[in-house]
């Protein structure tokens, strides 16, 4: 499987972060905060800075006029390091899948940068983009609609080789596909079967094999197990864990199931309405959450332990997530927050280590976009 990967593009591995900081003064502290918290994990493989995606809303039939925008992603920054898993959680409509599409450059970003090894991929096109895409692959949510029913498994997994012929010479492809099937735990003899002959879990393995075909460095998984049965979920999660170790992959793992995200992730980002509410290591987020939204989200997850139901404190949020076409001013969570004060409607809280926790050598000190951040153990893990 292993082979010399990546094209020989020599790019400056350090993105010019200072330049970005100068460009956008309002986010200075945000970017600096991210740089400050960097422990020795080497150079990030992917750096996302102030990523924005607005989908225009138009009116008029002949003469289209933009009347507004759905602010699906509105200024997101994070880093991804080699070999780590970054989980992204949030409710439906918070923009997590749009982030995935932007990282894959399937959607064009309205603003912001995505640096892959120092190169801004949002500005790339043509051959250069194709070369980058080889290293960033995706596994989709629904294993039923993401595989073409008219193609055999061999064709589905081998299709990336048609687009990037340099990875596998023509005569070698069948063998490579069989190797991939073996790697994801399917019988290599199934190469001529069609997707409908497989169960949901097996199909998701096929999806993963396709994602692995080009030896990527980053795999973006958008809800990879949410369509699967409980007993099959564990199989797929274990497989992904194993593959990460084997191929030194970096995952961006998008899901709404907080328990699964905790299991697989090294770091977790919590999104709300197009913004990152809180980001930190799994311990920081799950055991020491400081953002009220994270606390509410965690407390709402049903725990498979009936003993807990009497004494577990639950924060039940009222209402639904507001429309991203018309998000609340200031802090976007303020309409559902129980701590809301005047300041929240006027001042957008920045994603940074809250002042009161700065300099503390404790898991509480992580980035949280709340004016009134305080620790609260809602999971009862400590």
């Amino acid at each position: 499987m292993a082979e010399p990967k990546k094209s020989d593009e020599t790019v400056d591995a350090t993105p010019n972060v200072t330049e970005i900081v100068q460009q956008d003064a309002s986010t200075t502290s945000e970017v600096e905060a991210i740089l400050d918290t960097r422990v020795d994990r080497g150079e990030p493989i992917l750096q996302v800075r102030n990523l924005v995606k607005h989908f225009p809303l138009t009116s008029g039939i002949l003469v289209k006029k933009q009347v507004g925008a759905v602010k699906a992603v509105d200024g997101i920054s994070f880093d991804l390091y080699q070999g780590e898993t970054l989980g992204i959680v949030g409710e439906s409509g918070c923009g997590k899948s749009t982030v995935a599409k932007l990282l894959m450059t399937l959607e064009k970003a309205t603003a912001g940068e995505v640096f892959y090894k120092g190169q801004d991929i949002t500005k790339l096109s043509g051959r250069a983009l194709k070369a980058v895409r080889r290293n960033i692959q995706m596994v989709f949510q629904d294993p039923y609609t993401s595989l073409n029913p008219r193609m055999t498994v061999g064709d589905i997994i081998g299709e990336p080789f048609d687009i990037h012929p340099e990875v596998a010479p023509k005569g070698d492809r069948r063998r490579k596909v069989q190797e991939l099937l073996d790697v994801v735990g399917l019988n290599p003899e199934y190469i001529n079967r069609y997707p409908h002959q497989f169960s949901g879990g097996q199909r998701q393995r096929i999806g993963i094999a396709r994602g692995l075909a080009l030896n990527p460095e980053i795999i973006i998984c958008d809800e990879p197990v949410s369509a699967l049965d409980v007993s099959v979920q564990a199989q797929v999660i274990n497989l992904m864990d194993k593959l990460q170790g084997e191929f030194n992959l970096s995952y961006i793992f998008i899901a709404h199931d907080l328990s699964i995200v905790r299991h697989i992730s090294d770091r977790v980002g919590v999104m709300y309405l197009g913004k990152m509410a809180e980001i930190g290591t799994d311990e920081q987020i799950y055991e020491h959450p400081t953002h009220p939204y994270t606390q509410a989200l965690l407390s709402a997850v049903p725990v498979p332990d009936p003993e807990a139901r009497e004494h577990r404190e639950r924060i039940i949020l009222s209402g639904d997530i507001p429309s991203p076409a018309n998000p609340p001013s200031g802090c976007r969570f303020r309409t559902r927050c129980w701590k809301v004060q005047d300041r929240c409607s006027t001042e957008v809280p920045l994603l940074a280590i809250p002042e009161r926790f700065q300099g503390l050598d404790s898991p509480v000190a992580h980035e949280s976009a709340c004016h009134f951040a305080e620790e609260k153990d809602v999971v009862g893990a400590a």
């Binding site: 409710e91 439906s92 169960s199 879990g201 097996q202 049965d229 409980v230 007993s231 099959v232 979920q233 564990a234 199989q235 999660i237 274990n238 864990d241 709404h256 907080l258 328990s259 699964i260 905790r262 299991h263 799994d282 311990e283 799950y286 509410a296 989200l297 965690l298 709402a300 997850v301 049903p302 725990v303 498979p304 332990d305 009936p306 003993e307 807990a308 139901r309 639950r314 039940i316 949020l317 009222s318 209402g319 639904d320 997530i321 999971v379 009862g380 893990a381």
Partner: protein, 352 residues
């Protein structure tokens, strides 16, 4: 209109005295589907019962027969291809499978109501929600359109839809997922039934909204003292609300137990595996335990215990003899009330 009784507006008081025993009792129910490829045995002898005010959770993976059982109880099974070759479903002591279609229709909606999983596809997109809610009153109670609408608004208030009076003429697409599920709940509650069957009521919802909806359901259940059958695959949701649990696998109940017992000491390898395979929010685990293999194809269910090809404890007897639901007892022989396990080796499973 004549077929439907229009005189009775208030449902009979709970526990009307005539009938002792459980509200609903399913006995040895079998359901099969005759398809081109053969007979798919979806339900193979299910027994369970629910009392007023009690919550029974039916847990199982897709294809385990949990929804088909519910459809048979509601009488909304597609027949053909579905067929009920044997079994009885007693509601207040009366076998519903022996009722005429007309009698059945009087029970449905008024005595037993159902909440479906996907609220968007369960509501008619071209009719306002007020009209759809009011249909219950117009058809079952013969109310006028105006009165029915007034009752709809009351109901929407009851399920905590904000500004109910203003939203009664809105269409389903104008509501969010959580609000739509509330409308489904309102519809099920309309005639104050004795029993509600909720088929994966929160699976399509976000966790924060799921918590709201489950809370609402529990509150209304207490208020009306209804029986609730909660069908789900989520072990977390079950732990939060259920009184007792029936775990289904390949059309059979493999384990039955009060909720506190089953999480502490599962007595069936399938339940044990299921519990071990879910990641926990409050602890960072190592590698997850995975039940190997796949749920069985209902056209060819394995002989003996249907779980035997995936079971870590399987022995020869498991592939030949179908295990009955053994009563589960402590090591010293005292029986554990309400527990049963369909495993030849339940003793080894529960007592180590």
């Amino acid at each position: 209109m004549s077929i439907i009784d229009t005189t009775k507006t208030i449902p009979a008081p709970r526990g009307d005295g005539e009938h002792q025993g459980p509200l609903l009792e399913v006995r040895d129910l079998h359901v099969e589907f005759h398809t081109r490829d053969g007979v798919a045995k979806a339900v193979n002898g299910v027994n369970y019962s629910v009392n007023a005010g009690e919550t029974l959770a039916v847990l199982g993976e897709s294809g385990s027969g949990k929804s088909v059982t519910a459809q048979a109880i509601m009488g909304i099974l597609d027949m053909p291809p579905g067929k009920i070759p044997q079994g009885e479903i007693f509601f207040r002591g009366e076998d519903m499978l022996k009722m005429s279609a007309e009698e059945r229709r009087k029970v449905r909606g008024r005595k037993i109501a159902m909440i479906f999983q996907d609220a968007l596809s369960s509501l008619n997109p071209v009719l306002s929600v007020g009209y759809q809610l009011g249909e219950m009153f117009r058809v079952h109670q013969g109310l006028s359109k105006k009165d029915a609408k007034a009752r709809s608004i009351e109901l929407m208030d009851k399920v905590k839809i904000p500004a109910a009076a203003a939203r009664v003429n809105d269409y389903p697409h104008q509501f969010s997922g959580g609000m739509r599920q509330r409308i489904m709940i309102a519809m099920a509650l309309a005639l104050e039934p004795d029993l509600i069957i909720a088929d994966e009521p929160t699976t399509a919802l976000d966790v924060t909204v799921q918590a709201q909806v489950m809370d609402l359901l529990a509150e209304l259940q207490r208020e009306y003292n209804m029986g609730l059958i909660l069908i789900t695959h989520d072990l977390g949701v079950v732990a939060d609300v259920a009184d007792k649990i029936a775990v289904m696998y390949a059309g059979r109940i493999v384990e039955q137990a009060p909720v506190h017992e089953i999480y502490k000491r599962p007595a069936h390898p399938y339940t044990k595996g299921l519990l071990a395979s879910i990641p926990r929010l409050d602890q960072k685990g190592q590698e997850l335990f995975a039940i190997k293999g796949l749920p069985p194809n209902l056209l060819k269910v394995p002989t003996g215990c249907a779980f035997n090809p995936r079971c870590t404890m399987a022995q020869d007897i498991c592939s030949t003899d179908v295990p009955v639901l053994h009563p589960v007892a402590e090591q010293d022989g005292t029986e554990l009330v309400g527990r049963g396990s369909a495993c030849h080796f339940w003793k080894e499973t529960i007592h180590g």
